[in-house]
């Protein structure tokens, strides 16, 4: 019997949609120009890039000139924080949340080493920042506020419009990392008063290796990569044509299927959450019940460690992750879960399932069949039994 494969790690990366692959193919062998070349091949590819730019801009309510293509969301976030800091040396305070992705967090920490004051806003048990605390923190020294839109680990969706309005009214720049939320929550940079926004192609069924930074017209920002002056001078380096065409196509597909896809995913997500909480004792959902990304499920299991469940599930064909996949090389418990008030053992016992375009009901049923067995098995190995679960707290 063929072993069932259930991929539930769409938040780590998505497969490339077949329509996207088809759109990209001509840009490997047929249209091979460098977008900076003046000959026919160069013109052909730069046209394709501008069509993609236009489409992506429209999708988030921006103008095409405000979209900068980069190599990854990590690069976009680095550019947003360091580029804005570099161009506005008169202000030295940056506010982020305690639940940012490492690329925002570590960029901010890097700036702290260069004389910046960095404030990490605390969050409540659902992972939401306190609006009043943010308001108090913004002062005349403040340059930039950067708050993640949809959290990559626990799926919490922040009230970006409210934060954007506050920042605009107080005259500070507002950046949001929308890598996880793009396609799942409607984004309008005008209405939401966003100055800078990061989004990534490989989280929306596009190829890896391309992302955008939206930079509102008028925002003062310097490049962090210097060279031939591509992307309006903000990001030099030969433009990744096929990937950009792919990201444009991925957005086009989202325009068509995004809405119904999210409704379908919410139903499957809630089915998985309810099923796990019902069949497995001593576990709970991390993050809010409703105000969360349509595809995110994050559960903590008492008395077992996340990685051991992950690998047991993997051997049964189910692929998921512990916290953020990027931190699999890091032994420390997730800073996101700790910020939400979990203690270290509770954070160590967490697992993230993220659903996507090709997840179906049979997949969810299969997980609900094998997960209880796995948790039971690992708890049997554990020296901690239900009665001494307070140990270590």
């Amino acid at each position: 019997m063929k072993k069932r494969k259930v991929y539930l790690d769409y938040a780590a990366t998505t497969p490339v949609d077949y329509r996207v692959i088809k759109a990209m193919m001509p840009y490997f062998g047929e249209y091979i120009g460098n977008s900076m070349s003046l000959h026919a091949q160069g013109v052909k590819v730069s046209e394709a890039i501008e069509i993609a730019r236009e489409r992506i801009a429209k999708y988030i309510g921006a103008n095409a000139e405000e979209i900068v293509f980069t190599g990854s969301a990590t690069e976009s976030n680095n550019l947003a924080l360091k580029g804005v800091a570099e161009a506005n040396p008169e202000k030295k305070k940056i506010i982020i949340s305690a639940v940012e992705h490492d690329c925002v967090r570590n960029s901010a920490i890097w700036l702290r080493g260069r004389g910046y004051q960095v404030v990490m806003l605390p969050v409540d048990k659902d992972g939401l920042i306190d609006f009043e605390v943010l308001k108090k923190e913004i002062d005349k020294e403040t340059l930039l506020v950067s708050i993640i839109h949809g959290n990559n680990e626990v799926g919490t969706i922040q009230d970006i419009a409210k934060i954007g309005n506050l920042c605009r009214s107080m005259g500070v720049y507002f950046h949001t990392d929308a890598s996880q939320s793009m396609g799942k929550v409607a984004i309008d940079v005008e209405k939401m008063k966003i100055d800078l926004l990061t989004a990534s192609s490989h989280k929306i069924y596009g190829p890896k290796g391309v992302a955008i930074l939206y930079v509102r017209d008028g925002v003062r920002i310097n490049p962090i990569i210097h060279g031939g002056g591509h992307e309006g001078g903000l990001r030099s380096g030969t433009v990744n044509v096929a990937a950009i065409v792919g990201m444009g196509k991925a957005i086009e597909v989202l325009e068509k299927v995004g809405k119904s896809e999210n409704l379908r995913l919410i139903e499957l997500r809630d089915r998985l959450i309810k099923g796990i909480l019902k069949t497995i004792p001593d576990c709970w959902l991390n993050g809010p019940k409703d105000n969360r990304l349509s595809n995110n499920v994050n559960i903590s299991f008492e008395r077992v460690e996340g990685e051991s469940i992950l690998l047991q599930l993997d051997s049964r064909g189910v692929m998921c992750s512990t916290g953020s996949a990027c931190s699999s090389n890091n032994l420390a418990p997730s800073h996101v879960l700790l910020a939400m008030g979990l203690n270290a053992p509770e954070a160590h016992g967490s697992l993230r399932f993220s659903l996507g375009r090709w997840t179906n009901e049979a997949d969810i049923n299969y997980v609900l069949k094998v997960l209880p067995e796995v948790v039971k098995k690992m708890r049997k190995i554990s020296p901690f039994k239900p009665f001494d679960k307070t140990q270590g707290e």
């Binding site: 460690e305 032994l331 270590g392």
Partner: protein
């Protein structure tokens, strides 16, 4: 550039999926417990000693795949050994027997050797047998480390 190895050897996964000597021993002659929940690894090792030889050994572990696999292989390696032989075991033996560990998981192998030493320490103390000086030192180091880690994680 440093190469980063995240994946486990086949042997680690084999021991992780079907660990040997799993469980408790009723009336053990020695028990060693090391690690703490904050770090994500806790090992409990039980030994039975007959005529100065480890006749039976079992374990319970909370932790990652490496923690479970190192516990399992340690019990395999130590079964049938004399107390002296068991005390001479190093974490390198554990790592080699598993065909290697990712660098970030090396500490798991130290933990399993510590658990074994603690179990032997417990056995010697209970039987009022002389404890070698180096074992006394290791014991002190193990419990000090544990306390420090607990303080660090403020739990």
């Amino acid at each position: 550039m440093m190469r980063q190895q995240f994946s486990y050897s086949k042997k680690v996964l084999k021991h992780f999926k079907s660990p040997h000597n799993l469980g408790k021993i009723k009336d053990p002659d020695g028990v060693g417990e090391v690690g703490n929940l904050a770090c994500g690894d806790v090992m409990k090792l039980y030994i039975k000693v007959v005529e100065n030889k480890i006749s039976d050994v079992k374990f319970e572990t909370y932790g990652c795949a490496a923690a479970i696999a190192t516990s399992s292989i340690t019990t395999d390696l130590v079964k049938g050994k004399t107390i002296e032989e068991a005390l001479a075991m190093t974490n390198k033996e554990v790592i080699d027997s598993l065909d290697g560990l990712p660098p970030i998981k090396i500490h798991c192998s130290l933990l399993s050797v510590d658990a074994l030493n603690e179990a032997i320490y417990d056995y010697l103390k209970k039987r009022e047998k002389p404890v070698p000086e180096y074992l006394e030192k290791r014991h002190m180091r193990t419990i000090t480390l544990q306390k420090m880690e607990e303080l660090e994680h403020k739990i």
